[in-house]
Symmetry: C2
Amino acid sequence: MQKKPIAQLLRTGQPDETVTIQGWVRTKRELKEFAFMEVNDGSCLANLQVILNPDVPDYQTTLQRVNTGASVEVAGVLVPSPGKGQRIELRANSVQVYGEADPATYPLQKKRHSFEFLRTIGHLRSRTNTIGAVLRVRNACANAIHQFFQERGFLWIHSPIITASDCEGAGELFTVTNLNLNEIPKTEDQLVDFSQDFFGRQAYLTVSGQLQAEVMAMTFGNVYTFGPTFRAENSNTSRHLAEFWMVEPEMAFCDLQGDMDLAEEFLKYVFSSVLENCPEDMEFFNKRIDNSVLATADNIINNQFERITYTDAIAQLEKADRKFEYPVEWGTDLQSEHERYLAEELFQKPVIVSDYPVGIKAFYMRLNEDGKTVAAMDVLAPKIGEIIGGSQREERLDVLQQRIQNQGMNPEEFWWYLDLRRYGTVAHAGFGLGFERLVQFMTGMGNIRDVIPFPRTPLSAEF
Amino acid sequence: MQKKPIAQLLRTGQPDETVTIQGWVRTKRELKEFAFMEVNDGSCLANLQVILNPDVPDYQTTLQRVNTGASVEVAGVLVPSPGKGQRIELRANSVQVYGEADPATYPLQKKRHSFEFLRTIGHLRSRTNTIGAVLRVRNACANAIHQFFQERGFLWIHSPIITASDCEGAGELFTVTNLNLNEIPKTEDQLVDFSQDFFGRQAYLTVSGQLQAEVMAMTFGNVYTFGPTFRAENSNTSRHLAEFWMVEPEMAFCDLQGDMDLAEEFLKYVFSSVLENCPEDMEFFNKRIDNSVLATADNIINNQFERITYTDAIAQLEKADRKFEYPVEWGTDLQSEHERYLAEELFQKPVIVSDYPVGIKAFYMRLNEDGKTVAAMDVLAPKIGEIIGGSQREERLDVLQQRIQNQGMNPEEFWWYLDLRRYGTVAHAGFGLGFERLVQFMTGMGNIRDVIPFPRTPLSAEF
């Protein structure tokens, strides 16, 4: 008698089939003549309904033990279900209870719990419908990302987590050390003597794998990173995490147009793949969490993305029949309200804004011929806002050196990054996507802490 | 005129086909009447040979510029190759040189370089045959791992990198902090006041995602982690990294037998997949690095793994006609020489040793009925030694609490881990595999620093 996932039984199980399932009890209902229980094994959102007749061995004892949260193995026969919303159910021949869950203390009783409360039981919250669905969608999304790149010959590069360089000069870095903080060794100048630290210098958690991805693009052409990145930013918001996963493709022999093409193809692929692989979970989010998530996915999949330069976008915003909170002015960054106007009102579909002023973008973005803008691009989506940021990289040695100096950074620290421009340099481009933001937008979840298994935020590193 | 990867042209390109390639010059040979250059684009080990005739525009200038390391685009026509070892070559109609590489300073000239030297140019070493092949195999191996688990319905779980708990009590932890180390806040007792640190407590880099994987197995049944883990161990050896990637599947409703079955199926799958997807790179390793790597792979793929208990293994070692450096005694851990004897001499194929003495294994491993051994298993492979370590987990609350106390650890710190045994506990099992060790063994590379893009080791965090 083969054990089968409930997802498979609900899809293809046939009446009279003898099966064994293993899972956890979600609810139990006792009637006079018999009892029902709903069993979930995590393979899908839906539970399998199990009918317990009094001829099941140890019927009374079993009934007392199969409370919400108990782990069970049920052997029985599939029968057509008279109930609504389910094709089949399982008539139990025997029930084995592995582990009980005391109703007096088990925190996940049938009633609704707030997401805030669920975060305090991070080791149990995946057993709820919503967080369970999130983590299945998260997996499908991650798998789609790998498939997208692997099908196209991109190599997955594991960029380092511990780094001695601060990629974007963004600050907000975590220090990694094995010094005893109670007895920090000092130099003669009474500063920390990092030469005695594990790496012989101050080391940090990475904020981006881009610079290392560029190294690899200069060998393999097309590569991507998909790994954890960090910000020691004291932001207690629904969109910030101290630890999050980032996806960063990098392509040699590629300009900003190619970069935008890849970003558009990528988003369409990932949304399509998740809809295809998790239809039930996505329906659930649309029904219970945010009734626009399916429309948003559809909008991304089925529209050709609008492409507009930053300069033209500013012109559109200036003539918009609309009062913005933040002034619209060439040279300043677009605010969320501006981005939403462009994607939701003006074009009503995803928009790629390109060629931003040099003053508001990072040093490695390629300077355009006009000397005022750089070959950067942001993908803005309705209901979502900015979801991808990318650029063509500055491949000219002299220009890059100048940009580094202009930003007050030390070119010597970038010796190896500059070497890529000394030896066989080529036009290349890439982008970055915050993975949790993507999952958040895909599912409509309000707080980013609820789309990662174990969130790390200010004052919180439990579990 | 479509740009195509060289790997594709070498496989399926036809004479008279008009193509454009983009890549980097590996070598150039000037003859009297014309010149050759070998171009590599990272899509495969092999170069494409390009013939430069004097009728190519700017022939003389181009010849001067296409030195080793230069980036080029070549348009031309494929022709049958008269040379040995290549089916086709490319007769250039035009060559565009994007970036030169000054032969006077470019460190990667034609001669052989030591791996030690190559580590000092980590930003360029992927351009060599060996490191290039390693990183393609690494990608194929990583991809095979995801495919193996996804095909079997396992969810990829991103276990946290920053953690407040020390999973195995293994020590050797890196601290993660955003305190200013020059002005560490102190408590009244003159100890570090971690309440002022980012997470409000001391936080570390994870050494394993297993405990969190167990949380998720208790919801989804089958899950796996695949992410970076860390050891602040001052080991300057060819098999240690401070930062490395680990794969950790975890299965609910599974005992040690099921765990061993999965480990065997997993290794066979991954080795087969890499051989299938990187045959040329694997041939290269067998020819140039270690002439046993193909035989080792074959041994893993085509043998049923031997299974033996630790107790029986000790008996075999005791009666071996062999003098070991370390004494063989029930209760002590197997040494490398013992493991190699079992796998290479006695059985001459992979061996799974199970049921180790409780005293030498971690607290979470399930205590066997005999009270003396635990349901642990190690997979040992010829030429490789231990490659996988796993166990059935202790699912009984009282036994686990006792084990934690016996090890002098504080059960309160494990409150959530213990909760998994309070609510719906089930038999479960899993294993851990060091990803870089796997790649090292697969390729025969002598030093683990050469199978990860950017190695982190004592006193070294460059690039």
